[in-house]
């Protein structure tokens, strides 16, 4: 394969280097003993990891990020799963319009949505930064939950439910014994995808900050712009480790490419 | 005359790395296809017939052995340099091209002048009776029509050999029989050499000049249908060709006989001189319209060797009836004593 397609293989190798190279270099930088961003690192040490864990704003913002991701994922599921069920099984009038409304946040630039929530909620209604973050992330995640859960429902035969009803199960029993198990992998996928999406978000969260309140990626961005020491490289390595753990867990639970390959 | 295709001790191992391990798909296969002949590779799924065809086409490389096309070693030649006409099971028509462009594709890659290419594409479409649909796209055609286009596309380049990979298996039964005749007509009219892969013995019997029966990557028997059908070389071939009976006949080694060749007589009747007679009892009887499928049990024999399945004209036998079983000698096929199983 590789020998038969030297040109294509070279291009592919270049693509992988481009995609992963900067991350690999960052890992090297994080373990440097020196105090500047340099590759190859000047000696090995864990000092920047200690510095990262001792830096208060990172710890606080990590807490904020986890809180916002958890709460907005739960709300997005609580709103999205019933809505998806209604869209797929209720045959409502104007289904296309409603679906498009749920998908609209994908089309509108996140920075624009962030600006809108900042102006209307934080300035206009005096909502706190955390409140605005939760509202914003919920809106951001809703399309994912509706689409992913919808995909699992669309695959499942509606006649399964008719079969259950025909066998004597009432609507509630049908829901819990047939519909929900059918949706379960979709809901699990949506949960993982939504949580990661929230955790990594920058543009939407950028303007939704308050005194001492920001998400971790935004705090990292701010830090990177004001100083050039490798602390953020160390934080990145910690997040990389977390991501590998999430990837492995996802692979075991539902299949990595099934969740993130959409 | 130089054979069109020659396989010289060709083997193919799947999943082999560095010549070790892997499953054998084809083992030490020799095969010769002469010009103008219709050869079929016949066998159950997994017997290596499609692997063999794909090696002739160049889509797979043999792990060992040589492939000669028109006398020249082509083992390492890529498919586009082999001048083959391949018809796929899924037809593999290019969905974004019209029929004319599909059929003309092989001519364009051969840099045939566009006017000439167009004329030959239409000629090939006319050969399969679809000239009037030349501007359609494949999706607008029925399965049978798509099949014809695939055939026309393969024929248009005037290949040295036409390779057909179960081309009829996606069609319904009636259309399949019709397309068989069509296929034979096109092959005879163009005078092309053809190699067809199939798991359908009727197809192989009807189309072949030579049929090659494969099992687990090995050659079991090879010859014209008129030679192979009445004389299966071993139990595998016999079973594959519908010889249902492997009775233990006292005084004989392993034999086989077709259900339509056994006669069931009344208990006191005598067999003819060319027949072996055995006493038996009627087991299950299944009514099939013009005749009955009767299981006759040979008296004094135990186990599976006691059962003879017989196509019996008339509906006069009932379970438990005593019968005389007559086995005509000229239809009784002797089989080798013991299957040599090779690992």
């Amino acid at each position: 394969m590789i020998l038969r397609r030297p040109f294509l293989s070279l291009l592919a190798a270049a693509a992988f280097v481009l995609m992963l190279g900067p991350v690999v270099i960052l890992v090297g930088v994080a373990f440097t003993a020196g105090s500047t961003l340099a590759f190859p690192p000047e000696g090995l040490s864990l000092r920047w990891f200690r510095a990262a864990l001792a830096y208060g704003p990172f710890i606080d913002s990590f807490g904020t990020s986890m809180l916002v991701a958890a709460v907005s994922t739960v709300i997005a599921l609580a709103l999205g799963v019933p809505a998806t069920l209604a869209l797929h099984r209720g045959h409502p009038r104007g289904r296309r319009i409603m679906e498009n409304l749920f998908f609209a946040p994908i089309v509108v630039p996140e920075l624009v949505l962030g600006l809108a929530l900042f102006q209307q909620l934080m300035v206009g209604m005096r909502v706190t930064a955390v409140g605005a973050l939760i509202v914003g992330h919920t809106v951001l995640l809703l399309p994912y939950t509706v689409r992913v859960v919808g995909a699992s429902l669309a695959l499942a035969d509606a006649r399964l439910e008719e079969a259950a009803r025909g066998l004597g199960a009432g609507p509630v029993r049908t829901f819990f014994t047939v519909t929900l198990p059918v949706m379960a992998p979709g809901i699990l996928s949506a949960t993982i995808l939504a949580f990661i999406t929230s955790l990594n978000n920058v543009p939407l969260s950028l303007l939704l900050t308050g005194p001492g309140v920001a998400t971790l990626p935004v705090e990292m961005l701010n830090y990177v712009q004001s100083s050039f020491d490798p602390v953020v490289a160390a934080v990145s390595v910690l997040l990389l480790a977390l991501s590998v753990a999430v990837a492995l867990a996802t692979e075991r639970l539902v299949g990595f490419t099934k969740v993130f390959g959409r | 005359m130089t054979p069109v295709v020659e396989l010289d001790r060709v083997s193919h191992l799947f999943g082999a790395r560095g010549g070790k391990g892997g499953t054998t798909a084809v083992a030490d296969l020799d095969l010769t296809v002469r010009p103008g002949e219709f050869t079929t590779l016949l066998g159950p799924s997994g017997c290596g017939k499609t692997t063999t065809l794909r090696m002739i086409a160049g889509f797979l490389q043999p792990t060992s052995g040589r492939i000669l096309l028109e006398g020249v070693d082509a083992t390492r030649t890529p498919p586009e340099k082999r001048n083959i006409g391949m018809v796929f099971q899924s037809y593999a028509l290019f969905p974004h091209m019209t029929l004319r462009d599909n059929v003309g594709y092989g001519l364009r890659t051969r840099k045939v002048a566009s006017g000439e290419a167009r004329r030959r594409a239409e000629e090939a479409l006319a050969l399969v009776g679809l000239a009037h649909l030349a501007d359609r796209k494949p999706a607008e055609l029925s399965g049978g029509q798509q099949q014809r286009v695939a055939l026309a596309r393969a024929v248009a380049i005037r290949p040295s050999v036409l390779l057909l990979d179960e081309p009829l298996s996606n069609l319904d039964a009636q259309l399949r029989v019709q397309m068989r005749r069509e296929l034979l007509r096109v092959q005879r009219e163009t005078g092309l050499t053809a190699v067809l892969v199939t798991h359908d013995q009727d197809e192989a019997l009807e189309l072949s000049d030579t049929m090659v029966i494969l099992n687990e990557g090995r050659l079991e028997q090879q010859g014209s249908p008129r030679d192979v059908f009445p004389r299966p070389a071993n139990r595998f071939v016999a079973e594959f060709l519908g010889y249902d009976n492997f009775p233990e006949v006292p005084g004989h080694g392993p034999v086989t006989v077709r259900p339509e060749h056994v006669r069931l007589l009344s208990e006191d009747a005598r067999e003819d001189s060319g027949e072996t007679g055995l006493d038996g009892t009627v087991g299950e009887v299944t009514f099939q319209g013009s005749n009955c499928l009767v299981e006759a049990l040979i008296d004094g024999v135990e186990g599976p060797g006691s059962v003879l399945r017989v196509l019996h004209p008339g509906d006069d036998l009932r379970p438990g009836d005593p019968v005389r079983i007559a086995l005509p000698h000229r239809h009784l096929v002797e089989l080798p004593a013991r299957e040599v199983t090779t690992a």
Binding site: L18, T36, E110, Q119, L207 | -
Partner: protein, 291 residues
């Protein structure tokens, strides 16, 4: 007084009976729709038309000046240029990768695809920060160039840096889109072309690529929209020298507190994304009817 027709009455009673004991399942849509209206439609429309200290007229005026301002117009041009370049490079590199992945033997397609999309799990700061080490004045490339006697090169804070960073960011999206159409393609089509005399390159050009074009088009749209709206990468790799619409918008809000102008930029950005989305939708439709 005319009595209402009995059939109409019966229908009304029946519908009430159906409604009362069991509300229709569509009621489950209400909370989701309410949140979307309150937290998405209202703020976005209000902001694009009516920022806190302005009115539609000021936004319109700001948008007008944005489109004529000799300082701002180049920002729009640069944003489009960067997005087009990014999209082209992603297509050029991502499509072959997707092709190789889709044709890899055994378990390799899954593994390689996982490797290609793994970066999607990392936030954009993590993914972009490494470039500073590579491209900076003291960075890897600069030092290699110096060692070769070519002198130092400062690639950081240039358009090239932004494009490199964005290509890295969006390659996984392109690979995914192209892979999803390539993996559905019947491999026999490519073999059929080869059997008919086409070289591997020609089979790719005549059969594989045209048939995967819809997937590639989806990928291009995603990458273009992403590149127009991306923030972290232009902020870190372009800096204040090479502003794009997104970084300009941020500085208008955070530095100059000029909300009507921010709204105008937001409007232009949204319009860009919508126009390209609609365009590719049209293209995709044309492509699917002719093929």
């Amino acid at each position: 007084m005319s009595r209402p027709s009995t059939s109409a009455e019966a229908a009304r009673v029946a519908s009430r009976r159906r409604l009362l004991p069991r509300p229709p399942i569509t009621i489950l849509l209400v909370p989701g729709l309410a949140v979307m209206l309150f937290a998405f439609c209202y703020p976005v429309v209000a902001t694009l038309a009516w920022p806190p200290d302005g009115d539609p007229a000021t936004v319109a005026r700001e948008t007008g000046s944005l489109l004529t301002d000799p300082y701002l117009l180049p920002v729009i041009a640069r944003t489009v240029r960067v997005a087009v370049l990014t999209t082209a490079l992603c297509l050029l590199m991502g499509f072959p990768v997707a092709y190789l992945i889709s044709r890899a033997p055994g378990p390799w397609p899954g593994r390689l695809l996982a490797l290609a999309i793994f970066p999607l799990l990392l936030n954009t700061v993590v993914r972009t920060y490494g470039w500073i080490v590579v491209l900076g004045g003291n960075g890897l490339i600069s030092r290699i160039s110096e060692a070769l006697g070519l002198g130092r090169v400062q690639l950081l804070y240039t358009e090239t840096a932004i494009v490199l960073g964005l290509v890295q960011l969006f390659l996984p999206l392109m690979i995914l889109s192209a892979y999803s159409s390539l993996s559905q393609q019947d491999h026999r089509l490519e073999e059929a072309a080869r059997g008919l005399g086409a070289s591997p390159g020609r089979a790719f050009r005549d059969v594989v690529f045209p048939l995967a074009l819809p997937g590639a088009l989806v990928g291009c749209t995603l990458v273009f929209a992403g590149a127009v709206t991306a923030f972290t990468t232009p902020q870190l790799l372009g800096g204040p020298r090479e502003r794009l619409l997104s970084t300009l918008l941020y500085s208008r809000v955070n530095v100059s507190l000029d909300w009507p102008s921010a709204s105008a930029i937001a409007l232009v950005m949204t319009a860009l994304v919508l126009v390209v989305g609609a365009l590719s939708g049209r293209l995709g439709k044309i492509g699917s009817t002719t093929s």
